[in-house]
Symmetry: D2
Subunit: 142 residues, 4 copies
C-alpha cells in the first residue's frame, strides 16, 4: 500500500455563496495529494511529464459528508490499495481533525503527449515493484 497525507488550508477563493467550499475544489485537492505522493515516492509528476508521460483522470467519484469552510485546515489522506498496472486507482479521505469531510476515488492511465495510451515508464514500474514485490514463482526442488 502507498499512503500519503497532504495538508490543505481552505482559500477564500474556494468558497461559494453557500458559505462552504465549492464542491469542484475537492478534485483539485485530490490532485495535490497525488502530486505530493508521487514526490514522496521519488517520482515527481513534473519529471514524469518532462519524460513525456501524462496521467489523466479517467474516472472520479466523490461523496460529500460535511461542509468544508474558509480557513479550515484539512488533511487529504491518499491511499493506493492495489498495485498499479496499466490503470491506477487512488482513494481519498478528507478530514478536519477527526471529522470525515469527504471520501473519493480516482482512476488514471498513462498517455503520451498525443493522448495515446502508454505503458507506465520503467522508473515508475521499478518503484512500484519495490512497494509491491512481484510474486516469485514457487518451484519445487526435484
Amino acid at each position: 500500500m502507498i499512503y500519503s497525507s497532504s495538508q490543505i488550508k481552505v482559500r477564500y477563493a474556494e468558497t461559494d455563496k453557500m458559505n462552504v467550499v465549492y464542491h469542484s475544489n475537492y478534485l483539485v485537492w485530490f490532485d495535490i495529494a497525488r502530486t505530493q505522493m508521487l514526490e514522496e515516492i521519488g517520482l515527481p509528476y513534473r519529471d514524469l511529464e518532462a519524460d513525456g508521460y501524462f496521467i489523466p483522470v479517467l474516472t472520479a467519484n466523490l461523496e460529500y459528508l460535511r461542509s468544508a469552510r474558509f480557513d479550515d485546515i484539512l488533511d487529504v489522506q491518499l491511499r493506493v490499495m492495489e498495485k498499479p498496472r496499466v490503470r491506477m486507482r487512488f482513494e481519498y479521505e478528507i478530514k478536519r481533525a477527526n471529522e470525515l469531510i469527504a471520501i473519493g476515488a480516482t482512476t488514471h492511465g498513462f498517455i503520451d503527449i498525443r493522448g495515446n495510451a502508454q505503458r507506465p515508464p520503467k522508473n515508475f514500474l521499478q518503484k512500484i515493484n519495490e512497494i509491491w514485490p512481484p510474486k516469485q514463482s514457487t518451484t519445487k526442488p526435484a
Copy 2:
C-alpha cells in the same frame, strides 16, 4: 423525465498544461446545466436560495472519455430520470457534436441556511408533480 441542454464554450482559464480542460471544470459545467434546467422549469435556483433553500451536492461521479479543448463548443445534456423526492439524481452527458466527451451523475438534497436537511419547498414539489403526476388510486365504480 426532465431534459435540458446547455451550451458551453471552453474558456482558456479552464485548460491546463496538458493542453486539455482541467478535469474539475466538468463539475462546474454540470452545475451550469442544473441552473439552466431549474430556470427552464420555472424554479430559478436564485429564487430557491432567496426562499432559504440550498441544494448541495451529496455525491458526484464522472467518467472522462475524450479530452475537451480550448474554444470547444460543448453540449451538456442533463436528464432527471427518476422523480425527485428527498433526494434528486441528475445525469449528464457532455458532447462535442456527436462525440461523447464525458458522462456523470450527481445526487443532491435540500438544506436550509444552517445546513439542516429539509423537505423540498412546496413550489418545487408542485412543479415536480406536474412532470411526474402522482399515481391516482384506482377506484372501481360501483
Copy 3:
C-alpha cells in the same frame, strides 16, 4: 478602434462566501472578451496558438465599482483604442444593464512557445492595418 461585447452569465462557482463574485474571475471574463474579439475580426486565438504565437498578459488593472452576483447577466465591453504594435492594450467595462460593475485594462505582447518576444504575425498585422490604415507619406507633386 476595435469594439466587442461579450455576454457572461455569472456561475455559482464564481461566487464566494461574501455572496458576490470572487474578484479574480473578472480577469477570466476579460480573457473571454479578448477571445471573442479576436474571433470577430477573423483571427481566432486558437489559430494564433496553432501558428506558434501566444499573447500573454503583461499588466492588468482592475477597478471594482459594484458587486456582481450569481446569475447576473453581464456585458463585457472591450475596446482597443490605440493601434497595436509590439504591445497591445485592451480596455474593459463590465456592465449589468446600465450599471457599471467594473473597469479594467490589460496589456499584452507576442511570444513564441519558448517564451521569447516576437513581432506580431503577418496575418495579424494585415488585419490591424485594415482597421488602422498606415498613414500615407504625403509627397508633394513636383
Copy 4:
C-alpha cells in the same frame, strides 16, 4: 510597516495550455498573503467576518514579469507601507528564489454584510495604532 511572507506551491489546476500559471491565480495568491498577514498580526479574517466586517477588493494592479510554472515554490511577500485608514493598500512581490515573478497592489475598504462602507472595527484600529502609533501632540512645558 507590516511585512508578511507566504509560501505557495503551484497547483496543476493553476496552469493553462500555455504551460504556465493562468494569470488570474496571482490574485488568489495575493488573497492568501493577506489572510496570512491578518492572522499573523492577531486579526484573523474569519473573525473579522464573524464580527460582520468584510474587506472587499476595490482596485488591483498586476505586473507579470516572469512565468510561474507547475510545482514552483513561490514566496508571496506582502507589505503595508502606509497606515490603513478608511482604505488600505497592500503591495506584493512574488518571487521564485531570487527571481521576481510578479508585482502588484490591491486597495480595500471595510463594508458590512449589506455592502455599506464601514469604518474599520475597533480591534483592527487598535492593532494598527500599535504598529503605527498616533503622533503625540507635542505640548511645550510651561
